[in-house]
């Protein structure tokens, strides 16, 4: 079978270092002393814990419930007792804590009742729900909930379903071993994805440095008589990046602004995702374990099937690390990071643990100034200009970095790898990206605050107006009542005096509305004046009681002087007093 392959621009060829760990079959890791299962293991909402301290859980029992559509459930990896639901360090570059469920295994490894489903017999929505409930997420690295990617884009026919077995990052061999040993189940999982997405073609891309995996997958595809093509793609980092693999296999270039490749009629899944989806559908097994590579500075590098939540230091001990090991690198050397604590647990997206020492990964020599050689731009698989983005990130000119499409950067590390000045370019880009996100969050918060402030002002105005209206209405009613009384009185008077009763009611009935309004206004004014007067009186000085005669006279004199100087109006009370008479 001959197929025209395409090329992506850039890329690098770091030493692959895969031979150390791919010659031994996958081993089962022993049961750890305790399991720390972080609740937030995938992109999207954080699952809510549904177990409490002291609860007994069975293997595969749900412990965290999916929160929203883009979120996946989390399960107990084995049977045992919940020790606590508390904050623990998570494998994340920040080294910050997040909510975890700690389980002490009881050693029985007892499963819950597993319910397989027939994906052909039930509607797709039920399959999506089942996958979400089983916690199936992308195992390639990002951890995007699988069911979210299985919904075909509206209006765009699905052309190609791509299965990513490229595994381009050095040291990692977990997908390689999975394909060699469990190709049949991987292919069955791919068939499920094919049934759900209905693509025209299914392409399985595997880098040509894994001939055994290619052969195993071809054999499995042939055995199941599926029309999938297994394609060996040239080994070039980062051929396993979703957009790069799409480019190599289909020639399609996904625009950076496009959020989902489904809009281009392509969807990419990792081989591990296909395998775990098949386990969930055919056996009802939720995602509680995964295959990961333990390699680097160890005596026996190997792949292990590991329960999610296993502490990394216990795993590393299986491979007998050399005594000079000074840390654990999670992921590969290009995109991985040093875990903040050797006891952090394995999560769904942990594909590799590398024992770190200075001989294997010599410390970087100090950063030198950028010499504008352009090597980074030649290496960038996304055809970006890392040197421009670097200058602007460094100068914290984030608007400019966005003009240079910093959000298209996949942080593959090719630019840092080739930089002759050893500039940690990716670190600058990560810094710029997270600053831009933080600003976005702040901007949203301030917009919201402004809207709420303006609404509060509007509401206060409205309340004031409503209150005034209510008062006016009450006053009007009062005035109308008074007018009616007066009219009644006049009527009785008129009745008493002469015999023309229609004369008086006529003018009052002609302008009742105007009268009522006027009197209402007058009444409110009067009420306000009365209130003001009452207030004034309330704050009258209280030291004028019990004065001696002399004091009274002195006060009166002062008052009279004030009146004479026209400082105040003559008070009727003081005016009538004998002192004021004297002054006049």
């Amino acid at each position: 079978m001959l197929m025209n392959l395409f090329k992506f621009k850039g890329g690098v060829k770091p030493p692959s270092n895969k031979l150390q760990s791919n010659h031994l079959p996958i081993a089962q890791a022993p049961m750890p002393s305790r399991l720390v299962v972080p609740l937030h293991q995938s992109i999207g909402g954080t699952p809510r814990p549904i177990v409490q301290t002291g609860d007994h859980v069975l293997k595969g029992q749900m412990i965290g419930e999916a929160d929203g559509w883009i979120s996946a459930a989390v399960h107990a990896p084995t049977s045992g007792t919940v020790l606590e639901v508390a904050m623990h360090v998570r494998p994340h570059p920040s080294g910050l804590d997040s909510l975890c469920v700690v389980i002490e295994p009881d050693g029985k490894d007892e499963w819950i009742d597993r319910t397989p489903i027939d994906h052909r017999a039930v509607p797709p929505a039920d399959v999506f729900h089942h996958l979400q409930q089983c916690g199936i997420v992308g195992l390639g690295g990002a951890g995007f909930p699988a069911h979210g990617k299985l919904t075909p884009s509206k209006g765009v026919p699905m052309d190609e379903l791509i299965i990513n077995g490229a595994e381009c990052e050095p040291f990692i061999t977990c997908d390689d071993l999975l394909m060699r040993e469990r190709a049949e189940e991987v292919v069955r999982g791919i068939a499920v994805f094919r049934d759900l997405l209905q693509p025209k073609k299914v392409l399985i891309g595997i880098e040509d440095n894994k001939p055994e995996a290619v052969a195993a997958m071809r054999a499995a595809v042939d055995a199941q008589k599926e029309p999938f093509s297994v394609v060996a793609v040239p080994t070039l980092y980062p051929a396993g990046g979703a957009k790069q693999l799409i480019r190599v296999l289909t020639g399609k270039e996904v625009p950076g602004s496009m959020r989902s490749t489904a809009d281009m009629g392509v969807q990419v899944f990792n081989v591990g995702t296909a395998y775990s989806a098949w386990r969930a559908i055919a056996h009802g097994e939720p995602l509680v374990s995964r295959i990961l590579t333990i390699t680097g500075n160890v005596q026996t590098p190997r792949n292990y099937e590991v329960l999610i939540g296993t502490p990394m230091d216990e795993l590393l001990a299986l491979a007998q690390p050399n005594p000079d090991t000074d840390g654990i690198l999670m992921g590969g050397p290009m995109m991985g990071f040093m875990v903040p604590d050797p006891q952090v647990p394995v999560v769904k997206t942990t594909n590799c643990l590398i024992a770190h020492n200075d001989k294997l990964f010599p410390p970087k020599a100090p950063e030198m100034p950028c010499i504008r050689c352009g090597a980074c731009a030649r290496a960038c698989p996304h055809e970006l200009q890392p040197f421009e983005m670097y200058w602007f990130s460094r100068a914290k000119n984030f608007g400019k970095t966005q003009e240079y499409n910093i959000f298209d950067c996949i942080e593959c590390g090719c630019c840092s790898y080739v930089c002759p000045s050893r500039i940690p370019l990716v670190q600058y880009f990560r810094f710029a990206k997270s600053e831009i996100w933080a600003r976005e969050r702040e901007k949203n918060a301030s917009d919201q605050a402004k809207a709420r402030f303006e609404f509060k002002q509007l509401r206060e105005e409205r309340e004031k107006a409503e209150k005034a209206e209510k008062l006016a209405k009450a006053a009007a009613a009062q005035a109308a009542k008074k007018a009616a009384e007066a009219a009644a009185a006049a009527l009785t008077q008129a009745d008493d005096t002469s015999g023309i009763p229609e004369a008086t009611p006529e003018p009052s009935s002609a302008t009742p509305a105007v009268d009522a309004e006027k009197s209402a206004k007058k009444a409110t004014i009067e009420a306000a004046m009365a209130r003001a007067k009452a207030q004034r009186e309330a704050i009258q000085p209280k030291n004028t009681d019990n004065l001696t005669l002399e004091q009274q006279r002195a006060a009166a004199e002062i008052e009279s002087r004030r009146v004479a100087a026209h400082l105040i109006e003559a008070d009727p009370a003081t005016a009538s007093s004998p002192t004021s008479e004297k002054s006049e």
Binding site: S94, P366, S434, R441, S446, A449, R452, F453
Partner: protein, 181 residues
């Protein structure tokens, strides 16, 4: 004669252009002051009044009328810098000490339900009713501290927003300086 013609032509030109300008000034009149809006977009909208004006918009208007640009503590030194860039003014150090972002927290055991803080909150971030416990909606709180003074039992305190995985940021790469060998 020529000189009169020249003057007449110039005068005619002036009249025509004047009429055009007058028409344009009525037809394309800009509603509101766009500068005030630009300044307001930079201000953090906490509505805290720490600048001495009753809200962010009044301060934005005051800046247009010549007020100093360094009176907004929640905006921080960066806010001053951005205002200076927008207005072409000199950057000045902030007129107050810069604080980390905070939110108010009501001690719900002490709260007597007086509703005074609810009335003081400029963004309606406090929920509660008379003689019922009040609480602050953390997502809406701008940290303006306007609810602190009215509280008769001093049950409100400010707390710095902790760093979580959701708001964690990658740090600026630090270049280690090593002594030359």
């Amino acid at each position: 004669m020529d000189i009169l013609l020249a003057i007449a032509i110039m005068a005619l030109g002036a009249v025509i252009l004047g009429a055009l300008l007058g028409f344009a000034s009525i037809k394309f009149k800009v509603e509101g002051d766009p500068l005030v809006e630009k300044i307001e977009a930079i201000l953090p909208q906490t509505q805290c009044g720490q600048c001495g004006f009753p809200g962010c918009k009044p301060y934005a208007e005051a800046i247009v009328n010549g007020e100093e640009i360094n009176k907004c503590p929640p905006g921080g030194a960066e806010g001053v810098q951005r205002l200076a860039d927008l207005l072409g003014r000199e950057v000045k150090p902030l007129d107050a000490e810069e604080k980390p972002k905070q939110i108010a927290i009501i001690d719900e055991n002490t709260c007597i339900g007086c509703t005074l803080c609810i009335q003081a909150c400029p963004v309606d971030a406090i929920v509660g009713a008379a003689k019922q416990m009040h609480t602050i909606v953390a997502q809406q709180c701008t940290g303006c501290e306007l609810c602190l003074p009215p509280c008769p039992v001093e049950c409100i305190h400010m707390a710095v927003i902790p760093e979580t995985i959701d708001n964690w940021k990658w740090k600026y790469p630090v270049i280690e300086i090593k002594a030359a060998a």
